[in-house]
Every structure is written in structure tokens, then in C-alpha cells.
Symmetry: C2
Subunit: 293 residues, 2 copies
């Protein structure tokens, strides 16, 4: 089968053997926002045409390609959901060259009944849940919108999102903090100070202004501000999302994963860090549930 992770800004395609081995892969900048006039079929053909010519007959897509801005909208599937439920909720896609289906995102509600959503991460979580076995686990996928997912019995039983990465970008570029938040190398001591501050009273909105006050009182240098702010936001995220938790399964790109590992260990939480390259394995698991392999 062919698996495709088609996001907002990039397209990653995998040729996957029946046993799950990736035999070929392509990484393109052609995210869904670069596709004009709904010409998704042409864009897909340009990428995976040679694999279809070589005999592949089935394509499974995941990511923002299934959103309102994508090719076909796949409604969010309620949790708990594992590969079987997800396979059963895949949506057919009008691609004449192969049998093509699209993985739905997931939705979950918290205790207050407020909904949450993910699209793309569910496929990685299917792979992670398979790796971890049946015991309950909490997974953290840090990023623009960090996902904290509860896994059990090979399924995603619920999750919550923290808007940490996007809030960091907006606050560090579009508030008074931008005047003193200089780009530059990570400053581990300033990051640690931000983490420690996040554990003190006052709330995030107070701690944000404190970043400015520390600078004005000559207690925080321009080169330290971004790392301090990053520690502040990640510290608040970890405190909110990991209440009562003793162990977290961490899945993120190297640099970001290292920051989260520091933040989690600092909060007394044990961390297991995983290879973030899980999408092809997740697509393979869902493909197997579809009876394709």
C-alpha cells in the first residue's frame, strides 16, 4: 500500500510492504495550501504516480487533507478509537488511479463536555499505542498545538490540546515582549528559570508581564528572554496537562522533545522518548484493519 501524510505545508508519501517495512519514501513541500483550484488528484498523481505504475493499488491519506480546506472532509471520529474504529470511519476519495481512502481526525470531550479535536496525530498515536501494548499510558506530542493523549488497549481513549507553540509565537512576536525577545541559541538556565516561575502563583498572564518587568529591572537579558518565555509556557502546559501523572510517553522532533523532557523531569515525571517517525507505521496498522494487507 501507499501511505500519505498530507499536511498544511508538506506532503510525505511512503511505499509500505505488507509486513510494514517502508520500501520507498518522498518528502515534498507541496502542502494542501499550495494546491490550487482543488487539483488534489493531479498533485497526488505527480507524487506517487510511479509507485502506482509499479503495481500499487491502494492509497491511505491522513492529515489536513481531510479537513474543510482539504480534498474531502472527513468528520471527526469520537474517542475511544483504535485502528479498527478509524479504519471503519475512513472516507473514500475520488482518485481514479487507485482505491484511495482518508483517515478521519478524532474528537474527545473533557469532564465539562467541551470538545477537543486532532487531525493527523491520531495516525501516529495508533502506532504508538501498538508499541506500548495494553496498559494505560499518557502520550505527549509537543508542537504548535500540543496533544496529550490517553492510550489504553491499543486505542486513544481521550485527549486534550494545549495551544503552547502558537501562543509562544504570537506573544513573543506581537506583544511588548517582542522588543526584548531576540532570536538566538537556546539558553538552558533561562529556560529553567521560566519553568520554575511557572510553578509559582500568579497565573500565566501575570508571569508573561513579569518577563517584561524582569528585563526593565535588569534581571533578564535580551538574549535570555525567548528561552525564559519558552520555559514559562511549557511549564504552564506541563503543570496543567500532567496533573497526577507519573510517566509520560514523549513523541516530538529532537529539539522540542529535549525541552519537554527537561520540563517533565523537572516536574518529577518519568519520561520515555520515542522516535517521532511514526506516521508510516500508523498508516500500515490502519491499512491492515481495512483488510488491505
Amino acid at each position: 500500500m501507499i501511505g500519505v501524510d498530507w499536511g498544511t505545508s508538506s506532503l510525505r508519501a511512503y511505499r509500505i510492504a505488507p509486513g510494514g517495512a517502508v520500501t520507498d519514501r518522498l518528502d515534498r513541500p507541496g502542502g494542501i495550501l499550495t494546491v490550487e483550484g482543488g487539483r488534489f488528484a493531479e498533485a497526488l498523481r505527480d507524487t506517487i504516480g510511479p509507485w502506482i505504475a509499479a503495481g500499487e493499488t491502494r492509497v491511505l491519506l491522513c492529515g489536513m487533507i481531510g479537513s474543510r480546506q482539504g480534498w474531502v472532509e472527513a468528520p471527526y471520529l469520537p474517542c475511544p478509537a483504535g485502528p479498527a474504529e478509524i479504519a471503519g470511519a475512513t472516507i473514500p476519495v475520488p482518485f481514479p488511479d487507485a482505491e484511495t481512502r482518508l483517515v478521519p481526525g478524532l474528537t474527545s470531550s473533557d469532564e465539562a463536555g467541551v470538545p477537543d479535536v486532532m487531525r493527523g496525530e491520531e495516525t501516529k498515536l495508533v502506532a504508538l499505542a501498538d508499541l506500548l501494548g495494553d496498559a494505560p499510558a499518557l502520550a505527549c506530542l509537543p508542537g504548535t498545538h500540543s496533544k496529550w493523549a490517553r492510550l489504553e488497549g491499543g486505542r486513544v481513549t481521550g485527549f486534550s490540546t494545549q495551544m503552547t507553540g502558537e501562543a509562544f509565537a504570537a506573544l513573543s512576536h506581537h506583544t511588548i515582549l517582542a522588543r526584548t525577545a531576540e532570536d538566538g541559541p537556546d539558553q538552558p538556565a533561562a529556560f529553567a528559570r521560566g519553568l520554575a516561575r511557572a510553578r509559582q502563583p500568579g497565573g500565566l498572564l501575570h508571569h508573561l508581564f513579569g518577563t517584561r518587568a524582569l528585563h526593565l529591572m535588569d534581571q533578564l537579558a535580551v538574549a535570555e528572554t525567548r528561552s525564559y518565555l519558552s520555559g514559562l509556557l511549557i511549564g504552564h502546559e506541563v503543570a496543567s496537562a500532567s496533573k497526577g501523572v507519573t510517566r509520560v510517553q514523549l513523541v516530538g522532533a529532537a529539539g522540542l522533545a529535549a525541552l519537554y523532557e527537561t520540563a517533565l523531569r523537572d516536574a518529577g515525571i518519568e519520561v520515555t522518548t520515542h522516535d517521532p517517525d511514526l506516521v508510516a507505521s500508523g498508516l500500515h496498522h490502519i491499512g491492515r484493519s481495512l483488510g488491505w494487507l
Copy 2:
């Protein structure tokens, strides 16, 4: 005496009689950022020249005119501070037309030793503290950087800042929430939903993403998003800043004060709302401590 509140974007001047009555006032858009090449003396002369020609000999300035970007930098004065301490820390300004002094900002440290700062609000608080008498009180001055100040015995004993207004602007304009946060009339029901959400677990960064998820799940309309987000942020501010408090003295412009009054009452806090036009009175109190009146 003449009192001048000279901020980043505006200049307000008051001609004040010995008893405190304002006998004339001017409101100009000429904030310190509009003054080129440090020509502050010329800008001030253009505004209050006629009052000096009519016999005024003393000018007291407050606001951002005393910041690093202003005319003369007035260092932050540590709390506790009332009119006597503030008068003693005023800074002379090289304005040849009259004896001219500048009110310093204040600084305060929280339990963890992290500093906070204000500049301009101290003058309003001097007036409010005089109105309230000697008993301890908590004042809230909502805005871009909301100030929560403890008052006692006519002095500001400490304070903390919440970056609520500026965070609202950055998050509503420069994140994915901008796509669905339409300008428009206030939506009281959506504001109340945001306030209620702020009292639930998950943390602010989770609640922010929930604003997006509610929209995607058709549970929050485009016209409601700004008010919901406003309720969320003000709710988080009030929860953090008013822990253990039963009464707040509120000083803000009409529209914003009404939102904070709703948020505070919703949190079970009694509110006394004050006329926000306090600067001239504060300048008069400090002028009296200077022996000018």
C-alpha cells in the same frame, strides 16, 4: 499648578487650583512616541504655554514621559509608597519655563522575589487611596496591562500586573483563532461562557485551543468568538489575581469596567466602581506633598 499625564499615545494637561479643582484641561494626541528628536520642551510649551503666560510656575508630569523612551528617566520607586514617598522621589526636568518635576513609576516584588512595575497608574492610585481612607483595599485597573494594587493607609503597599489586554490582542489577531474571531458587538452570553470555562480545569493554553475546537464542532459562532475569548482571558485574570478576595475597587473606562464588573461578580466578589478620571487628583495630592500648594 499644572499636571500633565503624558503617555505613549496621548497627552492630557490639567490646570489645578490650590484646593484641587481642575480649572482647565487639554487632551492632545501628542504622545511621547510622536515627539521627534527629544523635543519634549517644545512640545510641552506648545500645550501649556498659555497657562504659564497666565501665571502658573510649577508643572508635575506623570506617565511614560518618565520611561527610558521619554524625556528624563525616573527610576522605579519601591512599594510601599504614598504621595509623600512619591513626591520625595520626583525628578527635576530641564524645562526652562517653570519648575518642572516628574513622578516616578513604582516597583513591587511578589513572594518569590520577582519584580513588577507600573508607570502612570501610581498617580491614579494615590487619588484612589485618598478616597478609600486607611483600611486595606484591593484595586483593579483593567487594560492592556491590568494592575491589581493593594492599598492601605493612603499608600500602595504592593501590586501585580496581568498582561490580559495585550495577550487578547495578540492571540485574537495572530493565531488560528483570528480566522474565526470576527469584530462586532459584544456578546454577553458568549462572554459568560468564557468566564465559566476559565473556572474549569485544563489551564489557559488548553482553553485557548478549545475556542477553536468549539468552532469546528459548531458549538461557537464566528460572531461569538471574540467575546468568548475575552471572557476566557478576563476569567483567568480574575481567578489568579483575586484569590481569597471578597471586594475589589474597580477603576476603568466604561466598557472595560463593565466586563470586569461582570467577571468579578460572577466570581462572587463585591465590586465598587469608581470614576476613572483620577489623574488630576493624584497629581494634586503629590503636588501638595511637594509643598507646591
